[in-house]
């Protein structure tokens, strides 16, 4: 599935980066490579871009860019999957959770 198809709170692992040229270069430089596990943190107030968290980094990317990253869902926050060290609570759109 694609990163853009995940929901807020999902944890996933990158399987392939399909972007091209400078977008891909940028993704690789920021650590978005196959094997990277991340969590979807939130969606911007207007519905785009999205924010993900991995290796201590908060990263934003547009949905169009997220659609070029293939991922495999590995869980949802709260199910105990070992990922990162700074997430505990499940965050929903409102952020109140």
């Amino acid at each position: 599935m694609l990163l853009s198809e995940l929901n807020v709170g999902d944890k996933a692992e990158i399987t392939a980066v399909r972007a091209r040229n400078s977008v891909r270069r940028r993704m690789l430089d920021m650590g978005l490579v196959a094997g990277t596990r991340f969590k979807v943190l939130r969606v911007a107030p207007l519905g785009d871009p999205v924010e993900i968290f991995f290796k201590g980094m908060y990263l934003s990317l547009r949905k169009s860019e997220a659609a070029e990253i293939e991922v495999e869902k590995v869980g949802h926050v709260g199910d105990g999957a070992p990922l990162g060290r700074q997430e505990k609570r499940r965050r929903r759109f409102g952020g109140a959770g």
């Binding site: 040229n21 400078s22 990277t36 939130r42 990317l61 860019e65 505990k88 965050r91 952020g95």
Partner: protein, 712 residues
């Protein structure tokens, strides 16, 4: 250069790694700011004296990687390869070591003499992270010094290491990051070919080989002029063929994956994270600041705050400076005997310098605010919040703040576009900023809307003018991005850095740098242009007019006895003569010359003159009109421009609307043009913009004037 005891050290590191704070801690007040050649990237240099050595530091721009992705990365690479510093200190963020090490691995590949500053070590200890420094040193093949720029610890140890590594007192075996077999074989084979090329000696041949496999266009154009390229190209194709077959991926991806694998291995071996999971401060702040409901209101509040700080606080300072220069001019005036010299000094030089300097309070205040936002971490979030709207017009989220600043003044706004990384995003943003109606245009609207519309309607008219600017600006961006600038814009793959309390000294340094840059570069261009406009609107002189003024004054002296009336009459006479002189000047002739062109939009030559002098500054449109419309005024009781315009048969609502639209859209003041030229580095886009702006202004005014005449 003077002695053997000079050591040059470059600082490299990720953005937000605390690199600049460390630079400040290392160099104290011994700093200077310049630019890297050919690009608008600031280059901070400084030095520290330690044990009889003068250690010179160059703060390279913050980068995540050393590919050819951004100008910052290219500058860093170029500096390392061509200026060959004695040593590179790689500043890494201790608490987030893993992602910082990507740059480290690439510095290792460049085979520079490397020293790692494990920065924010206080936070590492505080969070209970355990880093085996010795082991990590062996893996990375370089010395590691724990530092904390904010707590000022480890600074001397770092300087000590620089000296000892430089002198060869302490040594460590450089390590090499090996890639998977298929890649490693290709790297070694290509490097062997490149090693034989004497002209490439300054580069590590292994690094060049890696970059070629990474499909790096810069290295490609560096290497492909050599005869050895023919052979290398075949080797590259072969490498791609093999990896595609084996891994269904090209070498570029595999190389990055291998670096990441190396880093993961190093992390597993050397770093223990505590088990305690905690919600970081950043998480807590973001759950409010980026909240779906509160995110936008907070964003607008921050923008509003910055805007008010810049202009509400800045305007009194601006007025004070303005007052100072008027006072200074008045004080100097009687000291100069010769009419021409006096006019040059008072109206030309003092007014010109004053016209440049009065923007300083705004620039300093805005950049204090923006540097604070940038350093605290909010800037990236502002872009995150607003990107969707901006992207619709082909712009980047980061374009928003410069754009909004344009409502205050185009000059700091244009300078603020430096946060945009992609040249095409930056160009598009700079070119639409003047469409955001700046504060200097307001007096024009107040005058015209006030004269021709009832107060309630006048406010709506003014709002309409502002909105017209925004709409045309955004449409211009869309047009630019879908035609001329149809290149890749900056991806939004962007870090939202953890919130930090910015160090005030670096915030002030930023603001000071911007102010100085404005004065130094733009100041000269602007000053020259203001002087030219002054000459144009004052020369040639008509001696007959001066003589007639003398006669008139003498006549009034005889006929009018009441001193107040006398003064008023003389003042009116002076105004009439000034107007006649303005008509006689080059500006007046230019106004008449362009009259046929501006007639279809409802203007006569007098407005033409005001538009020409308005290039100096938009407020000048009003003062010029004040002068020129008193021409032929007989009624000396009412010299207020508003009533003069209302009485003037050639000036009606349609003209007023058309003029407001034209002033909104046509070329901004020379100061803005000067800064635009400075920031873009060449004239071509500035000339294009000027032609475009005048054309758009003319068309919009033509439509406005004709529509208004039909409807009103």
């Amino acid at each position: 250069m003077t002695s053997r005891k000079d050591i040059t050290v470059a600082l490299a590191g990720n953005p937000n790694s605390g690199k600049s704070s460390l630079f400040n801690a290392l160099t104290g007040s011994h700093q200077k700011v310049g630019n890297f050649s050919g690009v608008t990237i600031e280059k901070y240099e400084g030095y520290a004296d330690y044990n009889g050595y003068r250690i010179r530091f160059v703060d390279l721009p913050g980068t995540y990687s050393l590919t050819a992705y951004s100008p910052e990365e290219l500058v860093t690479r170029q500096y390392l390869a061509q200026d060959t510093p004695d040593m590179v200190i790689n500043v890494v963020e201790g608490p987030n070591l893993e992602r910082n090490l990507l740059l480290t691995t690439q510095l290792m590949e460049m085979e520079v003499d490397l020293l790692v500053a494990l920065n924010m070590y206080d936070e590492v200890e505080e969070q209970g992270i355990d880093i085996q420094v010795k082991q990590l040193q062996t893996l990375l093949g370089c010395h590691i010094v724990p530092t904390s720029a904010t707590k000022k610890t480890g600074i001397d140890a770092l300087l000590d290491h620089v000296v000892r590594v430089y002198e060869g007192d302490i040594e460590i075996r450089k390590n090499k990051l090996s890639f998977r077999n298929e890649i490693e074989e290709a790297v070694e084979a290509i490097a062997a070919e490149l090693a034989g090329e004497p002209e490439l000696k300054t580069y590590s041949s292994r690094w060049l080989a890696i970059k070629l496999l990474e499909n790096d266009r810069e290295v490609y154009s560096l290497v492909n002029r050599f005869p050895v390229w023919v052979k290398i190209e075949l080797m590259l194709q072969e490498a791609i063929r093999i990896t595609e077959k084996m891994y269904d991926a090209d070498p570029e991806i595999l190389i990055t994956e291998d670096r990441q694998a190396f880093i993961r291995g190093a992390m597993e071996e050397c770093v223990r994270q505590p088990d305690v999971k905690r919600v970081s401060l950043t998480d807590r702040i973001d759950s409010i600041v980026l909240n779906r409901v509160l995110g936008l209101p907070i964003f607008f509040f921050v923008v509003w705050l910055i805007f008010h700080m810049t202009f509400t606080l800045g305007t009194p300072l601006m007025d004070a400076l303005d007052g100072f220069f008027s006072w200074f001019a008045a004080a100097v005036e009687p000291l100069l005997p010769n009419d021409i010299v006096r006019s040059i000094v008072v109206d030309g030089i003092i007014a010109g310098v004053g016209g440049v300097l009065i923007f300083l309070p705004n620039i300093i205040l805005l950049f204090l605010g923006l540097s604070f936002l940038e350093a605290s971490g909010y800037m990236a979030r502002a872009a995150f919040v607003v990107d969707k709207v901006m992207h619709r017009f082909g712009l980047h989220g980061k374009s928003f703040i410069p754009m909004i600043t344009g409502f205050g003044c185009s000059i700091p706004a244009i300078m603020a576009t430096r946060t945009l990384k992609s040249p095409s995003d930056r160009l598009a943003t700079i070119l639409i900023i003047p469409f955001m109606s700046c504060g200097a245009k307001l007096p024009v609207y107040v005058l015209l809307a006030g004269a021709f519309f009832a107060p309630a309607v006048a406010a709506n008219v003014m709002f309409g003018i502002y909105m017209l600017g925004v709409v045309l600006g955004l449409l211009t961006a869309l047009l630019l991005k879908s035609t001329m600038l149809n290149r890749e814009s900056e991806p939004f793959v962007m870090e939202l850095p953890p919130y930090r309390w910015p160090s005030l000294s670096s915030v002030f340094l930023q603001a000071r740098t911007k102010a100085w840059m404005y004065l130094k570069k733009a100041g000269t261009v602007i000053l020259a242009a203001v002087m030219i406009i002054w000459v144009v609107s004052n020369y040639p002189r008509n001696p007959e007019l001066e003589a007639s003024l003398d006669r008139e004054v003498a006549r009034i002296g005889q006929q009018v006895t009441d001193p107040a009336e006398q003064a008023a009459a003389i003042h009116a006479a002076e105004n009439r003569i000034a107007a006649a002189q303005l008509e006689y000047s080059i500006a007046g002739r230019m106004g008449k010359f362009i009259e046929p062109v501006i007639e279809p939009i409802g203007f006569d030559w007098r407005i033409g003159v005001a538009l020409v002098t308005g290039l100096a500054a938009k407020e000048v449109v009003v003062s010029t009109m004040g002068t020129i419309y008193s021409l032929g005024e007989v009624d000396e009781e009412s010299v207020e421009l508003k009533s003069i315009l209302k009485r003037d048969p050639s000036f009606d609502r349609a003209t007023a609307l058309s003029l407001m639209v034209f002033v909104l859209l046509y070329i901004p003041c020379v100061a803005a043009i000067g800064v635009m030229r400075k920031e873009l580095g060449r004239w071509k886009p500035v000339v294009f913009y000027s032609v475009y702006a005048v054309t758009v202004a003319w068309i919009a005014s033509f439509i406005t004037w004709n529509a208004a005449r039909v409807m009103m």
